[in-house]
Symmetry: C3
Subunit: 224 residues, 3 copies
């Protein structure tokens, strides 16, 4: 049933598009970090394929899709070539890149959750892996670039929440046997729109209780 959410060719095209925009973000970070063209390609591959790779290793789907589908492997290389020659232009259309990245986030949190559930995981675990699929590539990208993952940072617009909402909608639909093409698209669109709104209005998640006051930024006592 799940395989019929979208027709296989539509699903595949969407996957390729999602991998491509994630890879763009990896290649752009590589340029900012002053990496060479091979560093760009490695970071693009890791960003585009990393989330699905983590999911596939955990559910035991080996070899992972990233290594069995030549198209998946090729998209990050295309992204690398594009950014290599055109990166000032790509940076200029950062807004457009962010919109596509939001689309990738929405898509992957849904397909990741569905695939994890197909492999027999429970509902909560499936939703957690949906989040890992959507956000894992970006975390690996930041770790390899030796930066604090932007997923975790307080001063970035909400990224995890839209993916969590989308994944949760999927598992609720599965629970009530209502997962079909329509509800899947609805979950993708919800996560996508939430992420767009988060970027538009700079929604942030709260930090721990007493860090919200400025005084807490510089605690008087010694730190461990």
């Amino acid at each position: 049933m799940f395989q019929e959410l979208f027709s296989p060719s539509v699903q595949h095209s969407l996957d390729l598009a999602g991998i491509f925009v994630f890879a763009i973000s990896g290649a752009l970070l590589a340029v900012r970090k002053n990496f060479d063209v091979f560093g760009m390609a490695v970071l693009a591959e890791v960003t585009g394929l990393g989330g699905g790779l983590i999911r596939d290793l955990i559910i035991g789907a080996v070899p992972p899709a990233a290594f069995t589908d030549l198209g998946y492997f090729t998209m990050p290389l295309v992204a690398t070539v594009l950014v290599f020659f055109l990166h000032p232009h790509v940076e200029r259309i950062q807004g457009a890149v962010n919109v596509f990245d939001a689309a990738g986030l929405g898509l992957f949190c849904v397909t990741g959750t569905v695939k994890a559930h197909e492999y027999g995981l429970g509902l909560t675990a499936s939703a957690a892996l949906g989040l890992a699929t959507a956000a894992g590539g970006g975390v690996l990208r930041d770790v390899l670039a030796n930066e604090v993952p932007s997923l975790l940072r307080w001063d970035r617009d909400l990224y995890a929440v839209p993916a969590i909402v989308g994944a949760t909608m999927v598992v609720v639909c599965i629970r009530f046997d209502a997962l079909n093409g329509l509800t899947s698209v609805l979950a993708v669109v919800t996560a996508f729109v939430l992420r767009l709104l988060a970027m538009r209005f700079h929604w942030r998640a709260p930090r721990a209780y007493n860090r919200r006051s400025t005084a807490a930024e510089e605690p008087p006592g010694p730190k461990i």
Copy 2:
């Protein structure tokens, strides 16, 4: 036989307690790094479940226990909520947290070694995975927080050695067919007490030979 080391419910409660205290250390680091509440949850999950996840991926136990037991997944969220509202108090009882962390270290180095051996690994490899189970979560935590893993740092009290001693005791017992509830508890307690002593007396491991003199800190020649 191995499954009967502890009764299943006792074993499960101990696992949950160990995951909880590890998750507390992850959530506290997230607060110090100024992450938002989702960053805290991610770091708590990774710290609490990461060691067992690495072990399960390596021995081929997929999906890993972290994704099949809802309790395992929930404990880090509880730890996040607690730290979110009470983190100044949690930091104040850092000493108590450290004691529980030492207990988790002792417990996980033993259960990790036993599980790896159950899956057919040799004695040395099992002990190595026992160490990875006990210390892996903390290493992932530090890598995600973009810090040098405290496991590796010279200026931290011994952490690996107690786990290595506990894991070694287990494989010696397995070798001589003497692994039972009593010897397991003995291994847990030994690792636990060694870690407490290391913290109490600030035991440190030596650095490479000529770095022990202060002069070596600033070598005259050019560095690569």
Copy 3:
């Protein structure tokens, strides 16, 4: 057929030598980062075995060879002891270490590609895993040491290219059914010599287009 590329004992000795020299580089970095002896051992193990571990997890060869062959596990410990007592001397012969590291690179990009193909991966995916086998340990080493992976950095001599060339030669030979002991050795030697030449003449890969001018180093506009 593939198993007969080299006689098993020759293959095993070469693997041990490659693991050993990679582990040396890990232990040396640990000394520079001021880690203690256990941090040295952990970094040596990760550097020596990490590449093969990544490959084995992805192709589903669990438990990975790193955990089933005691010799693989022991070599990094030997490297640690050596560096611990003799590291000023080891640093002095850095040139020799680099030559051995280049040999390990050439060897592992070939054996990694062959093993991935034996497990049923396609030609492109096998070559990608050959690169991951050869370079993955060094990337894990740098991530654990909280440094930007030298594989990705612009200001380091070519490292990925020789491995990519070696792995590509292997898959071309497989494609035309010409993989045998002779062509395998040829691929190893080609990667090895390319890496030596890259170090000798400081070959670098280009960075993205407009970063090549000095002016681009300090872009005038605000950065994201």
